[in-house]
């Protein structure tokens, strides 16, 4: 009945994914210059870990995930999975998108999963049984012959999850997969995803802008912040650094990079929003994201009043 995440043990071994000094720039429309979306991202993800990436829109969450997926090439720095440089998309990193159009509409539910297995070079004889197995895991065994347009949004996302898991990827990358769903379906799918995670011991990186979702699901939470405009002194201002690092509050990343903080989530599972300690983390994340009036994402931190379950924050979250 090991409810403790396996990644605690896995931490001692080499990480599955290592992101080193990642920068990502896009050409800015019109100006001819570049727009820096990600800077100085340092991250190590271990096998079996559930990591959430959170932050306001436009702070590079999806870009980071797309870099890991191999859809985007880093402008600087490197991404390695099991020591190998990530050069492009591959079935070892399966992405589940927010968009419910990610399924192929001309294939049935079963066909969509079988197509993935075919692409993954699974022998024809095994495909059907394996596809059915994973569709059973998401509870869609009665909808094998349906076409995507005949399914609800929640069912489509379940198919996408089954399709992604069926090729047995090294990691599952999820880009706000439940954002387009209603609150009830969303909460149901969160619970199911956690069960799938425990059953399959998958490694999951989950992008969300929902604080509660991040706390309920993840072992660690990476908070990203929008980058300051070029030339601004920003957090180099000593006052900011004093405010950021001072007092009993969480230690933040005072640099100029995208990472506001990387915090551990020690709450026991299963988690509920009314459990002790939940509110502390919630408020901490709320502040880090910069949702409070008068603060700037992750730069100004107030000391946390509650003494309970103080999560450990890491200023330099590079694994050693």
């Amino acid at each position: 009945m090991g409810m403790l995440p396996d990644y605690q043990q896995a931490k001692k071994t080499t990480p599955l994914l290592v992101v080193n000094s990642l920068h990502k720039r896009f050409p800015a429309p019109g100006s001819g210059g570049d727009l820096t979306v990600l800077a100085e991202v340092e991250l190590a993800v271990h096998r079996g870990e559930f990591l959430s990436i959170i932050g306001r829109s436009g702070c590079g969450k999806t870009t980071l995930l797309r870099c890991i997926a191999g859809f985007e090439k880093p402008s600087r720095g490197s991404l390695r999975i099991e020591g190998r440089e990530i050069t492009g998309p591959g079935i070892d990193r399966m992405m589940v998108f927010q968009d419910t159009e990610q399924l192929f509409p001309w294939l049935t539910v079963l066909g969509n999963v079988e197509f993935a297995l075919q692409a993954a070079r699974v022998p024809r004889r095994e495909r059907r049984a394996r596809a059915v197995h994973f569709l059973e895991m998401v509870g869609l065994e009665r909808f094998l012959d349906y076409y995507p347009h005949q399914l609800s949004g929640g069912m489509k996302q379940r198919v996408a999850i089954a399709r992604a898991l069926s090729v047995r990827p090294r990691m599952l990358l999820m880009d706000e997969p439940f954002a387009a769903l209603d609150a009830m379906t969303r909460s149901l799918l969160q619970q199911e995803l956690l069960q799938l995670w425990q059953q399959t011991k998958a490694t999951i990186i989950f992008v969300t802008h929902n604080i509660q979702e991040a706390i309920i699901q993840s072992d660690r939470i990476l908070v990203l912040r929008p980058l300051l405009p070029a030339g601004s002194t920003g957090s180099r201002d000593p006052a900011f650094i004093r405010a950021a690092g001072g007092g009993a509050g969480p230690v933040l990343n005072p640099g100029l990079g995208s990472m506001a903080a990387l915090i551990d989530n020690p709450l026991p599972r299963p988690r509920q929003p009314d459990m002790p300690g939940f509110g502390v983390i919630w408020r901490q994340l709320h502040r880090l994201i910069g949702l409070e009036v008068g603060t700037r994402a992750g730069l100004v931190a107030q000391p946390v009043a509650e003494p309970a379950a103080q999560p450990v924050a890491e200023a330099a979250p590079v694994s050693t």
Partner: protein, 279 residues
């Protein structure tokens, strides 16, 4: 293994199939057509216009029957259908090649766009005089004009279809490690099928128009020629009911192709997959 909550999701709604809509709409349309036909017959019988210019509808049907019995109209129809089918088939082949090249090689994309912008507005019939000089009189020139007028709507729709493929579906394909060829074959082509079918429909309609018009401008040598030539000849001899019979034949073929061939094709593919934009 499954959580208890999974039972609930089986109640989630599935789209109902609507069947009566089409049949009732069809019945209404047929009703209107019968009324228009009756009005035609009544006006013709009233003797306001000379029968040579405005024949009775009943005489048109009699003429159609006679032409079918005599066999000429069927031979002409067959000739037209042959020309158009061959023309559309050639146009589709060329269009697919052009779209593939435009997709595969970026510089060619602007070439195809440029040709499309310049030549698409040019009606096929306008190039017939020069095609008659290039390809010789009769069948080859008409075929060339049909191909010319079918290519552009087809290419335009194929390219628009390729551009309309949802980004996420392409990413999902790339995520599965599909290379360019397999991505095109298994994702881009099926995903752009609604546009390709719309293009085919348009190409067929243009093919008909061009073929009939082309045959009238320059019929065909000897005993050959299609429905356009048939109509032209009958008008020359002032057999006006037979002229209308020729038009009726074009309408019948049009309905047959539109509803039976394209309708079936759509129901088997894009409508079944929920990809049709007109549903």
């Amino acid at each position: 293994m499954l959580p208890a909550t999974n039972k609930k999701r089986e109640t989630e709604k599935v789209w109902p199939r609507r069947r009566n809509l089409f049949s009732s709409r069809l019945a209404r349309q047929v009703g209107w057509l019968l009324m228009v036909g009756a009005a035609w017959e009544a006006v013709a019988r009233a003797g306001i216009y000379p029968p040579i210019l405005f024949p009775r509808l009943s005489d048109v049907f009699v003429a159609l029957l006679a032409e079918v019995r005599g066999g000429e109209i069927l031979a002409r129809t067959g000739w037209s259908l042959g020309t158009i089918s061959l023309g559309v088939a050639l146009a589709v082949t060329i269009s697919i090649a052009a779209a593939a090249l435009a997709l595969g090689l970026r510089p060619l994309r602007s070439l195809v766009d440029a040709l499309l912008n310049v030549l698409h507005p040019l009606p096929g019939i306008a190039v017939l005089p020069i095609f008659l000089l290039w390809f010789g009189t009769g069948a080859p020139a008409v075929l060339a004009v049909v191909v010319f007028s079918c290519i552009w709507p087809m290419v335009q729709n194929l390219l628009a279809g390729l551009e309309s493929v949802p980004r996420t579906q392409i990413d999902a394909g790339r995520n599965l490690g599909l290379g360019r060829a397999r991505l095109a074959l298994f994702v881009l082509i099926p995903a752009s099928l609604p546009y390709a079918l719309a293009g085919l429909r348009l190409a067929w309609a243009r093919g008909w128009q061009t073929a009939v018009a082309g045959e009238m401008v320059f019929g065909a040598g000897g005993g050959d020629g299609g429905l356009g030539w048939f109509i032209y000849k009958r008008r020359f001899f002032l057999e006006i009911p037979a002229v209308f019979a020729g038009m009726l034949m074009i309408i019948l073929i049009g309905i047959l192709v539109e509803h039976v061939i394209f309708g079936t094709l759509e129901h088997l593919t894009v409508r079944r997959w929920g990809m049709s934009r007109t549903e």
